[in-house]
Every structure is written in structure tokens, then in C-alpha cells.
Amino acid sequence: MLLAYVRRRLVTLIPVIFGVTFFAFLMLHLVPVDPVVLILEGGPTTAGPQIQVTQETYDSMRRQLGLDRPLLVQYGRFLGRIARGDLGQSFVTKRNVSEMIAANAPATIELAAAGMGVAIVLGIALGVAAAVRRDTWVDAGVMAVSVLGLSMPSFWLGIMFILLISFKLGLLPVLATSGWQGLILPALVLGLRAAAVIARLTRSSLVEILNLEYVRTAWAKGLSGRSVVYKHALRNALIPVVTVVGLQFGNLLSGAVVVETVFGRDGLGSMAVRGINLKDFPLIQGTVLVLAISYVCVNLLVDLSYAWLNPEIRLGTQR
């Protein structure tokens, strides 16, 4: 039954791929910006004597890149390449897009996983503390901190962390981009916003569960507070939280763009930004496709985890 469920969900990937790639393709081509001009003129970043390009060179490059063909033909070629597992060649770097994604993905996965780890651990811990101590200063404090976490832009937060923790206190290097030292601050910055959302949701969900009869029965039976909260109440309270965790993954991927830029880390985010600035069509389309598939797969894992959290939930046959 589980396998059938997984198969059904994976089949939904096909319309997702079509939809995402089509809209990404359309948006790229509808914006009236010519990637060949950007490439030949050196884009927004040039230095040293600039080369002056003739119309002949420009026309020749458009032909070579296939940009002189009708849009549908270009899209069809792109789909044909995907079917063969080929994401094309970057206009700018001339490297295979799949190779570029493979080179940059581990750093983003590492950062997203660490950020998610921070978000889950911190968010659930704070949410539980607020729920268990509701209507006290602990509860008020956690809610206030979560509002701050939601409202502070990650760009600013990143620079403040660098200034305070690396520069003033000297606890971590400013520019460590590898190893655990290079992960702490970026993961904190990335995870804080999601932690705020998770904390608030955990709090409200747990408060609701703690008011249920079976929990009151557990208290009446004389079970310890730790046992009541963590063994009996929290697991049920986490079901909506798990849903949000899956949705937050998308936010983490977009947040990774900013965090990678601020901290100078490798990653899909910074690679995608460079591709967007230069309208590197194959790179952007390939990256969007990979990220969309990742997002769907993560949400699939989230859905599968419901059954583990609450055995009453049977996938597709819930009572």
C-alpha cells in the first residue's frame, strides 16, 4: 500500500516538471532582455578594456545558441534533452549544466539540511517551552523572539552575525566556507525564520493537545510531566508541524540564495543568481527543474512521515 502511494505521488512529478519548466521557459523568454547582448557586452560586471562587438558576431552567436528558432521549437528541444537526461550546456561557462548543478548542489543541501536542523530543534524546543509554560514570561518571550525571527531579513541578520560573532567576539572566522566552522552562522541565519514559524505552530498545536481528555487522563494517572508532554502529547502535536516543515523547505531553498551570497558560500542559490543576471537560459531552466523536483520529493517524505507519527493515519485510507 505504501509502495502504491509512493508510486502515485511520483507520477504527479510529470505534470509538475511540465508546468514548472514551461512557466520558467516562458518567463525567461518573455522578459525583453537579450542574453547574447549581456554575454558579449560582459554583462553587469566588466573590467579592463572592453571588447567592441559587431552585429555579425552577435547574429552568429544567436544562431549557435539556437535563439533564432521559434519559442516552441526551443522548448521542444529542451524537453527532448531532459528526456535524455541532458540539461544542456551553459551559455556563459560552456560547462554541462548537470555538472554545474552536481558541483554546487552538495553545498546547498548541506546548508539547507543544517538550516532545517536548526529550525526543527530550536523551533520545537521553543514551542514546547512556550506551550508548557503558557501565559508566563517564558511564553511571552518565545512569542516575541519568534516575531523578531520572522521580521528580520536574513540578509541583515547575516551581516549582523558576522559583525558580532566573527568580528567583535572573534568566536568564528568571518570567511570560513568549509567545515563545521563555515556552517554554523549560515545555518543559524537560514534556520531562524523557519524556527520562528515552527515555534509558533508547535506552541499552538501542543496547547490544543494538552487540553484533550487523554492527556488529562495521563496527568490523573500520575505520569511525570516529561512523559505526558514528550511521550503522549508531542507526537500528535507535531503532525501539523511536519506539514509546515515540508513547506518551509521551499523557503529555505530561496533563503539559501541570500545566505550563500552574504557568506560567500558555494551553492545552487548563488549559481542561480549569476545565471539569472546573465540570462543563462539552460542554467536557469536546469536549476529550476532540479529545485522543483527536490521540493516535491521532500514533501513526499513529509507525507510519508505522517504514518510514522500517527499510525491511525493510513495513507489514502484515513478514517
Binding site: 542574453p35 558579449l40 579592463g48 552577435y58 552568429s60 551553459s90 560552456k94 553545498a107 570567511l175 548563488s270
Partner: protein, 544 residues
């Protein structure tokens, strides 16, 4: 008790004095003789998308390529070339044929010898349409490359190409190892093999590049102090887009050099003995906003003259750039050898004159809006420019200055890509322009009528004057520098008389380094060279 109190105060005061003296910045250490060893750590803002200088698009990569690839000649200044990989050369009187006689002791980083065939193969690689290299534009018309013997390269063109020596001095025409690119395939694009003082050792991830000393190197340009192998063992390039992270890392002494510090920090670093600012005045066409001469109101000479007299460029340089840049006076920068000194007397700030010009041309002020009008049409212009910090600041200041004289300037800042689209669609009254070029022939790129229909509309003023075209063509064809200077002076006068553009400021590149980094410089083309760089004192501990 009172005496005890006094003793305490005196003691505390004495301690404070001692601490203050101890905390004062130590005087800058005397460098002494160059020392070998150490790893130089440089943090740049933008990662190059490709390193192979024969093919890459982004000239920022040349800041690295200049250190991995030598050219056949080096440019000491725009009118003086010195031997590099070529120990001598011959230029035909008609500037159609160039013959280079190569040194016989040069080796590529992979140990293979530099030969004429290698130079030919490199240039053919740039010319190959399959590689889509803009570098093909550096050659003249119909290039033909020959190798009469193993150390002689001859290139000839169908038309004169007086500027070819200058192009040859660029890293883009520096030879690479054919054996290496055949062996490495696509990997060569990010790890090219040249003859430069440093070789690509490795990439760590995607954002860290390590160069290592080329130990066999002994053919450095004569304008440098060091003709042999570089002093430092390695250079680590890190690519960090965020400026605050770059400069904080420098102040924490985690790195040696940070590129492009914030403008407001430049003066602070200059006065702090722990650091040094190394700057480069970019030659060529300064930052300017050409008027679109095909749209109203910018096609009216009176409007253009009124605008240029209403702008206080000194104030822009001081406020928007914290006094770190020069004012731009005309079509060429002051550092360009063909700059016309009389340009400084044009377009002086005089808002009263602006108003007189407008009223003399029949414009009337609308009392309710405060802006001038003519035949019911408000005097409004749109400046389409990029959304960089510099442009937005300048645009905002100029908007306020023009409002004072009754001109409505709408500043539309957007991505470079989007602005190019607007230029192509002729949907602007003022555009953004500027060009880094050592040769004043760059004026053709910006003002010849043939450049109106190019993909990025290089001639954004859309000027189409036969007389101007002829002057530019004469300047390009002339071979004597004095004659060229006269012609380009005439071009500048013509453009300034037409008030063709708002000239604001000249570009300057800044790098900030620890004061213990010695011998770090920009070359005449605006690329950083580390061949003479060495590390003194505790600079050698960084990067280990």
C-alpha cells in the same frame, strides 16, 4: 583620606596614559628587501564564470588571467610597449602585418615549450566560431596566421589594424598550451595552462581558486622589479559578493587584499596605517548619460545645455562618492593620453545660466508644477540606467539639481539587462554609458553612427553626423600619436559643443590591502599583477 584619594586618581590617570600610549597604532614597518614565501589571500567580489582567457566573456576574469597568462608584448603605457614573450617584433608600415620573434626559454605550466605553433593555435581557438569568443573581435579583418619557424609568428590582416599591439598586450591573446586543452577537454576552461608567473593549482569547491608559483618563470616584463619567479608561494582567491564580509575579513586579518571596499570606507582605510588603498583611474570614456538625440526634449540643444549647466559635478563626486573619484569633464577621462585639457572649461555649474537658456528657447514655467513647459508639453526626461548604488545616488542628486531649475528628471533604475532592452527599443531620453579603454578609438564605439544599430546600441545618443564619423575614422586610421591626439581633441570639442552628454564622474577601481603586503599594483590595462608582490612581517602567517 584626601591624600589617599589624590594618589588613587594619579595612579589611575597614569595607568590610562600608559594604556593609551600602548594602544596607539604602531608605525608602519619598514618593508626591507623582498622576502620569498607565504600565501597571499585575495577576496574578490565576483567569481569569473570561465578562466580560459582565449574564450571567456567576463573581463573580470582577466584580473586572474593576467597572472596565469603572459602576452607577447606588455604595455607599460598606452604608447609604449615592452618585450614579454616576444623579445622583439616588427610592424609593417601599412599596419597590416605584425611579426613576433618569441623567446626560446619559455615553458608553459605543464612543462611544454612555448612555440609559434602554440601561439597560432591559441589565436585560432579565439577565432573559431564554434567557441563563440568575443575575443575574435580583437583581431583585424580576415586574419591570416603563419609560423615561418618555431619561434616566429606572423599575422596579417586585410585592412590596417594600428591598434593590434594593444590587443596583443591583453591577457585574452596570451598563449595557452594546446597540449593541455587537448588533454583536459572542458576542464581546461576553468583551469587553463599559460606561461604566467602563477599556475592554476586547484579549485576548492566552486568559490576558492588556488594559484601556485611557476618556479621556472624568468621572463617578467621589464617595468616590474622582479624578472624571476614570484615571491609568494601561492595565491588563494576567494569570491565573496558581500562587501561587508570582505572588509570585515580584512580587518580581522584573515585575508590580505579585499577588492572593491565601500566608497565611504576608502578614506578611513587611507588614513589607517594598518591598511593601504591601491587604486586605478580607469582610462577611456567616463561615466556619462548621453542624451537621446532622436527624442524630444533631449534633441533640443537648449535643453541639453540647460541640463549640463544645472549639474554640480564636484558636489556629486564629494557627496555620492565621498570624494574618492575625479569629476568627468568630457568624452575622455583625464588619465587618457588624448584628453583635451580645454574640456575642463565646458559645462560649468551655473543654474542661472540654465534658466536663461530655457527661457531664451521659449520654455515657460508652470507655476503649479514648478517645471518648464513648451507648447503644453512638460520638460520631462527619463534617465534609464542600471540599479547599481553609484547610479542611483548620482541619479537622485541630479534629479534634485534639475528640479531646482525647473526640469523634471525621472530616474528609472533597473538591471543592466532590462536597460539594454530599453535602449534597443529607443525608449529613453538619457541613457547610461562608460567604457574602459586605453585607446581613444573607444570614442568610435560610443559615437560613430554605425554603432546605433548594434545589439546593445553602443551609440546611445544615436548621433548620426557625417563630420563626426569622418573624424573618428581618421583617428582610427592615423598612426602617429600627435596626429591622433589632434583629431581626438577635435572630436571632444565637437561633442562638448553639442552638449551631447551629461559627464558625471570618472571610474576608479579600489582595492584595500594590509599594509604588510608589498609590491601589489594595477597594470596599465586595469588588471592586478602579483608577480612583484611579497609579504612582510606577520602577513606571512595569514593563509597558512
Amino acid at each position: 583620606m584626601r591624600r589617599k584619594h589624590q594618589y588613587m586618581i594619579a595612579t589611575v590617570f597614569g595607568l590610562v596614559c600608559i594604556m593609551t600610549l600602548g594602544l596607539q597604532a604602531a608605525p608602519a614597518p619598514q618593508p626591507g628587501a623582498p622576502q620569498r614565501g607565504g600565501t597571499l589571500v585575495v577576496v574578490a567580489a565576483v567569481k569569473p564564470d570561465m578562466l580560459d582567457p582565449s574564450i571567456h566573456f567576463n573581463t573580470l576574469a582577466n584580473r586572474i588571467s593576467r597572472n596565469t597568462h603572459d602576452s607577447l608584448v606588455s604595455m607599460e603605457n598606452p604608447n609604449k610597449f615592452v618585450p614579454a614573450l616576444a623579445e622583439r617584433w616588427e610592424v609593417a608600415k601599412d599596419f597590416k602585418t605584425f611579426t613576433f620573434f618569441l623567446r626560446k626559454d619559455v615553458k608553459f605550466h605543464d612543462g611544454t615549450p612555448l612555440t609559434a605553433e602554440a601561439v597560432k593555435a591559441t589565436w585560432e581557438r579565439s577565432l573559431d566560431p564554434a567557441n563563440r569568443a568575443a575575443q575574435s573581435q580583437l583581431f583585424g579583418k580576415d586574419p591570416k596566421i603563419e609560423t615561418p619557424n618555431a619561434s616566429t609568428v606572423r599575422i596579417s590582416f586585410a585592412e590596417p589594424h594600428p591598434r593590434f599591439l594593444q590587443q596583443v598586450s591583453l591577457p585574452q591573446l596570451g598563449p595557452g598550451s594546446p597540449a593541455a586543452w587537448q588533454r583536459m577537454g572542458q576542464a581546461y576552461l576553468m583551469s587553463p595552462v599559460g606561461t604566467g608567473p602563477f599556475k592554476v593549482e586547484a579549485w576548492q569547491g566552486e568559490n576558492t581558486l588556488i594559484l601556485a608559483r611557476h618556479t621556472d618563470y624568468r621572463w617578467g616584463p621589464s617595468y616590474g622589479q622582479n624578472r624571476g619567479a614570484p615571491y609568494v608561494d601561492r595565491i588563494i582567491f576567494r569570491f565573496v559578493p558581500e562587501e561587508a564580509a570582505r572588509t570585515l575579513a580584512l580587518e580581522r586579518r584573515e585575508i590580505h587584499i579585499a577588492e572593491e571596499p565601500a566608497r565611504q570606507s576608502v578614506n578611513t582605510y587611507q588614513s589607517d596605517q594598518r591598511f593601504q588603498i591601491v587604486q586605478f583611474q580607469v582610462p577611456g570614456l567616463p561615466q556619462n548619460w548621453p542624451f537621446n538625440t532622436t527624442r524630444w526634449p533631449s534633441y533640443e540643444l537648449a535643453v541639453r545645455r540647460a541640463v549640463v549647466h544645472a549639474i554640480d559635478r564636484e558636489r556629486i563626486a564629494k557627496v555620492a562618492f565621498f570624494g574618492t573619484v575625479n569629476v568627468a569633464y568630457g568624452p575622455l577621462t583625464q588619465s587618457n593620453w588624448a584628453f583635451w585639457p580645454e574640456a575642463k572649461n565646458y559645462h560649468r555649474y551655473d543654474p542661472k545660466k540654465s534658466i536663461e537658456i530655457l527661457e531664451g528657447a521659449g520654455f515657460k514655467k508652470n507655476a503649479s508644477t514648478g517645471f518648464y513647459e513648451k507648447d503644453g508639453k512638460p520638460l520631462r526626461m527619463r534617465l534609464v540606467t542600471s540599479s547599481t548604488d553609484d547610479q542611483v545616488k548620482q541619479g537622485t542628486m541630479v534629479q534634485a539639481m534639475l528640479r531646482e531649475v525647473g526640469i523634471d528628471l525621472v530616474v528609472e533604475a533597473m538591471s543592466t539587462a532590462a536597460s539594454f532592452a530599453r535602449y534597443r527599443n529607443n525608449d529613453y531620453e538619457l541613457a547610461r554609458h562608460g567604457l574602459n579603454t586605453v585607446d581613444p578609438d573607444g570614442l568610435s564605439f560610443a559615437y560613430h553612427s554605425q554603432q546605433i544599430t548594434t545589439a546593445a546600441v553602443s551609440n546611445r545618443g544615436r548621433l548620426s553626423f557625417k563630420a563626426l564619423d569622418l573624424m573618428l575614422e581618421r583617428g582610427r586610421a592615423a598612426t602617429e600619436s600627435e596626429e591622433r591626439r589632434r583629431v581626438y581633441w577635435q572630436v571632444q570639442k565637437t561633442l562638448l559643443d553639442m552638449a551631447n552628454s551629461v559627464y558625471t564622474t570618472e571610474s576608479t577601481y579600489f582595492n584595500v590591502a594590509l599594509s604588510c603586503v608589498q609590491g601589489f599594483r594595477w597594470n596599465a590595462n586595469g588588471y592586478t599583477e602579483f608577480h612583484d608582490t611579497w609579504l612582510s612581517g606577520d602577513c606571512r602567517r595569514i593563509g597558512q
